[in-house]
């Protein structure tokens, strides 16, 4: 069984570990409206691009840049419910980290461990949303550039095809353009250096890369919204509420343990570059600065940062560890003795036994991964989590109380209500680019019970208020609105006749 030896074994272990990490209950506040939009697209055989879910933007055009991902998500959900979505996220995570593994250098154990670290950093964005498709395609683009630069294999003709697909899957295509541009900038920097290393691109190769960027920018236009797709990055960044209200757009909070691996990675790469005798390549430098900056501005950029940084880390960590190992062995003869005895005892193990051990380990990891996928996506487990994160009781109550109505809702519950209360309309959901500062600003004023909150609810003719009980509005509206549910998780109020 040669496939379970050497490099491929470590890659398989890495991918299985990533799958185990990525297998989570597929519950994300945005997942639901993506599913519903996908469903609408399939039902109407037309890309869903006019809002019908909210009453604040009802009938307004919406540039639905993730329409193809939504269709895929809905088809997966229809075919295999939560399980299919869990597997989809896992496969995307494996694909992105797997492509990074091929770009790393050094001993396979270092590559595998760095891959695991990259996975932990990127895991912040592993959720059932179109964003995960951007992560995969980002890894694909970075791999093609890696082949072009480090292996001198030109597969850049694939880029336009990838960008056509990307601009229909998610608006994050701009990350791929940035990466390609950054590498180009880094290579120009390399050309300005005195030395000329084999991995540096020639001026001709840099020009070719530039031409492909232009072609990719044109390829992006092949989507239902045409030129509108170029505006997406600016539309999104222009919404101030994104930065103020949505945690994934905020700077990282390293007091949260799950965000700390990004800090470890940054520390690791800086220490490795500092300690390494190898000087950093221009492309690596530019990528590290640009994507590191992006990750420090908004934690949703952890994914691209991890994918870009992992190969750079190994390029510098490998020589540092090698040098350190040599020094230790020279200085301390006992360590050298230990090292050689380990090596000898390794050689004594018969190849057959080694394959068997590897095979058993892979089977154990595979079983764990399958078990976790089944466990986290089982209906009972999903329902249990759904109850803690979403207003399940309120949805049941509203379904029984009325056939339709307008709901002033908690921001993160918008998608869930869209999916579960088909005939109700909501105030706001995760489509920040649709609602903009105007609606989100008004939502903030109402939920904080600022001046004229009641008047605003009256103007919109809102029938129900469904929010968390710790919101100032919950206290302010308690007397003037009829309370239908008041629990630790939510408060549901109905307008008094």
């Amino acid at each position: 069984m040669p496939w379970i030896k050497e490099d491929r074994f470590y890659l398989a272990v890495l991918l299985l570990l990533v799958l185990i990490m990525a297998a989570r209950t597929p519950l994300d506040s945005d997942m639901w409206w993506h599913l519903r939009a996908g469903e609408e697209t399939l039902l109407n055989k037309e890309v869903y691009s006019e809002d019908t879910f909210s009453f604040t933007r009802d009938g307004d055009p919406w540039l639905n840049h993730s329409w193809l991902s939504q269709v895929i998500m809905y088809l997966l959900y229809s075919a295999g419910s939560y399980k299919a979505l869990t597997i989809w996220v896992g496969v995307c995570a494996m694909a992105s980290i797997g492509l990074v593994y091929f770009q790393m250098e050094g001993h396979r154990i270092i590559r595998m461990m760095t891959g695991v670290l990259a996975g932990i950093v990127a895991s912040v964005v592993w959720s059932p949303r179109p964003q995960i498709m951007s992560l995969v395609l980002f890894a694909v683009v970075s791999y093609l550039i890696y082949l072009y630069k480090w292996k001198k294999t030109n597969r850049l003709w694939l880029l336009p095809l990838i960008f056509i697909l990307w601009s229909n899957l998610h608006g994050g295509y701009v990350l791929g353009i940035i990466l390609t541009g950054v590498v180009m900038g880094g290579e120009i920097f390399n050309k300005l250096q005195v030395d000329n290393k084999p991995e540096y691109l020639s001026w001709k190769e840099i020009r070719v890369l530039g031409i492909w960027i232009m072609v990719c920018l044109l390829a992006v236009l092949i989507n239902p919204f045409g030129f509108g797709m170029w505006k997406i990055p600016f539309n999104t960044i222009g919404v101030e509420s994104l930065q103020n209200l949505i945690s994934e757009w905020a700077s990282p909070d390293f007091h949260q343990f799950y965000q700390q691996p990004m800090l470890w990675m940054l520390f690791g790469v800086m220490a490795a570059i500092g300690l390494s005798k190898r000087r950093i390549d221009g492309s690596d430098l530019a990528s590290l600065i640009v994507f590191g900056w992006g990750a420090l501005i908004a934690r949703r950029n952890f994914g691209p940062f991890a994918l870009v940084t992992a190969p750079i880390l190994t390029r510098h960590l490998a020589p540092v560890l090698e040098e350190f190992k040599t020094v230790i062995e020279v200085k301390f003869s006992s360590v050298r003795g230990l090292s050689s005895s380990i090596s000898e005892s390794n050689q004594k193990i018969k190849p057959g036994s080694r394959y068997a051990i590897n095979f058993i380990l892979l089977v154990l990891l595979s079983v764990t991964a399958i078990w976790k996928i089944y466990d986290v996506s089982s209906p009972s487990f999903v329902e249990q989590n759904e109850r803690t994160e979403f207003p399940v009781d309120a949805v049941e109550k509203l379904k029984g109380a009325s056939e339709t109505g307008l709901i002033f809702n908690e921001y993160n519950w918008g998608g869930y209500l869209i999916w579960n209360l088909r005939d109700f309309k909501i105030f706001v959901d995760g489509r920040t680019d649709l609602f903009g500062d105007e609606i989100i600003g008004e939502w903030v004023e109402i939920i904080n019970a600022e001046e004229n909150w009641q008047k605003k609810l009256d103007l919109w003719e809102i029938d129900y208020v469904l929010i968390r009980p710790d919101r100032p509005l919950a206290l302010a509206a308690a007397e003037t609105w009829k309370t239908l549910i008041n629990s630790e998780e939510l408060i549901l109020l109905e307008r008094k006749e």
Binding site: V194, Q243, A250, S251, P252, D253, F254, H255, L263, W264, L266, F267, G268, M270, A271, I273, G274, L275, S276, K277, R279, I280, G282, D284, L285, L288, I289, G292, W293, L296, I297, F324, V327, K331, D470, P472, L475
Partner: protein, 504 residues
């Protein structure tokens, strides 16, 4: 002939060096920003009050004397020496004195950063640029608080360690002396131990295993650790420090311990320093020494973890980056622009070496002190160094003093220090900014009350609170105004005093 030799001598004493110009610029900037230094944070009042208490009673309190919630509980006065310095400055010149001391300490710290950068790089222009960037990054935490002493001690500490590393300093005896003062001035003396750890680890990574060198570093560590126990609370100072840092709730509820928010423009110089670090590491032709690599990467991580560490990061990293930058320029001096810069730089250095001055710094510092003592307002907005009435409940406390409000109170946490400054010892606070002393339990109770969480009334009852001083727009005041038991006896746009019952 005589004139020719005399003339440069006078000029040498009259012309300030670049470092001196930098010190004066930072000092004047801080004097001009005086009101901002004391109004961003509410703890200054507590520090002055504690310092005054130490001077008056000639003893350092190890039990709480400021709050009615924890009165008599064991207290670690880890900033007592800084508090005494603040109190002395306050006695001499009021709040102007505090601003003067703050400006002097921070100005001195960045002058030392410049000097260290210059010593390591021999490039004054580069050292100046690096120090200005470091000062810009650190400025987001320039406040009149004891942590400014830690900024100064960090620079002194690392300067001495650098001297040891490059062989200028031969013995280690200065280190325990620095640590002794540091540990009694501010709780972040632990930074010194971390920096020391980077140096010794760097020594090992750089394969310098020579026993005498290792021994020197071990003596520094051991003596500093032992000396750190010479403080009013002995080992308790370590326990308090780690106890606080290990408490996720308290750390996440203390604004300065939160990570930097890069959407705020004030953090951009720090971001620029990180980008510059990576860039310089990249272009440097030589491998960085391991101590510097560990300091650079480690303190980057620490500053990203907590914005409070950014000033320390800035003063540690700036000289390292300047050194790397200077090495790069030297290695590329054959290139046109680089060559011109090095030429310009060497001419500057020649002028610098001929100058003897130190005069202007002294004149500016003394003049500023005298002017402030004479009552001149030197701040840029001409407000004078005072607690601002749009930040602190100035009029409300006037009312409290006039009406001699009795009983135990519940106060807004950031105003605790100001209340102590104005009303102690007649009045005790519910809580103030000394979070490490009040601990998680009381802070949670405070949070319960201000968020009106279930049981908030029980907290007020338990501590027999008969009056509340909170921001007028706060949820608590809004709610107390709606229920019948509480009456507003004083209200302005900033603060409201509510009294239980009729308030008669």
């Amino acid at each position: 002939m005589k004139n020719q030799t005399k003339s440069p001598c006078i000029a040498a004493f009259l012309m300030p060096r670049i470092g001196e110009i930098l010190f004066i610029a930072i000092f004047i900037a801080l004097i001009g920003l005086g009101p901002k230094l004391m109004n961003v944070d509410g703890d200054l009042g507590r520090h002055i009050t504690l310092g005054n208490h130490i001077i008056t009673s000639r003893s350092i309190p190890t039990r709480d004397v400021f709050s009615h919630t924890k009165l008599g509980d064991p207290l670690t006065p880890h900033e007592w020496l800084a508090d005494v310095i603040f109190a002395l400055a306050h006695r001499a010149a009021g709040l102007d004195g505090i601003v003067w001391v703050t400006a002097l300490i921070i100005g001195a710290a960045f002058w030392l950063v410049y000097k260290q950068s210059l010593d390591l790089s021999s490039m004054s222009l580069l050292a100046l640029a690096g120090t200005i960037l470091a000062a810009a990054a650190a400025s987001l935490h320039w406040l009149s608080r004891p942590h400014i002493f830690t900024i100064l001690f960090t620079v002194i500490w690392i300067t001495e360690l650098e001297k040891l590393r490059i062989g200028i300093r031969k013995n280690w005896l200065i280190f325990p002396v620095i640590m002794l003062i540091w540990v009694n001035t501010h709780g972040a003396f632990i930074a010194g131990i971390l920096i020391w750890a980077c140096y010794i680890a760097g020594l090992i990574l750089d394969q310098k295993f020579s026993w005498p060198e290792i021994k020197t570093y071990l003596w520094i560590g051991l003596s500093s650790l032992l000396v750190s126990l010479i403080n009013p609370d002995g080992f308790g100072i370590w326990k308090t420090g780690f106890g606080f840092l290990g408490n996720r709730y308290l750390v996440s509820h203390t604004a300065e311990y939160l990570p930097p928010d890069f959407h705020q423009i004030s953090t951009w110089p720090f971001l620029l320093l990180i980008v510059l670090s990576i860039g310089l590491l990249a272009i440097s032709k030589r491998r960085m020494n391991a101590s510097h690599a560990l300091l650079l990467s480690g303190w980057t991580a620490m500053a990203l973890y907590s914005a409070r560490n950014i000033p320390l990061y800035a003063v540690i990293v700036a000289p390292i980056l300047v050194t790397v930058g200077a090495d790069y320029l030297q290695a590329n001096k054959s290139k046109g622009a680089t060559d011109k810069f090095i030429d310009l730089q060497s001419r500057f250095m020649d002028i610098e070496k001929s100058l003897k001055s130190g005069l202007w710094s002294g004149i500016v510092v003394v003049a500023a002190g005298l002017l402030l003592m004479r009552g001149f307002t030197l701040d840029f907005q001409n407000k004078g160094n005072q607690f601002l009435d749009n930040v602190f409940p100035v009029q409300a406390v006037d009312w409290i003093e006039e009406n001699q409000l009795q009983g135990e109170g519940f106060n807004y946490f950031p105003w605790g220090g100001y209340l102590l400054y104005r009303t102690w010892p007649e009045m005790l606070v519910f809580i103030d900014g000394q979070t490490d002393f009040y601990g998680e339990e009381l802070t949670r109770k405070y949070e319960k009350v201000i968020t009106l969480s279930p049981g908030w009334e029980d907290v007020l009852q338990k501590y027999q609170v008969s009056w509340v001083l909170m921001p007028t727009q706060s949820e608590l005041i809004q709610h107390l105004q709606e229920i019948g038991d509480w009456n507003a006896v004083y209200q302005d746009q900033i603060s409201t005093i509510m009294v239980l019952g009729s308030g008669e």
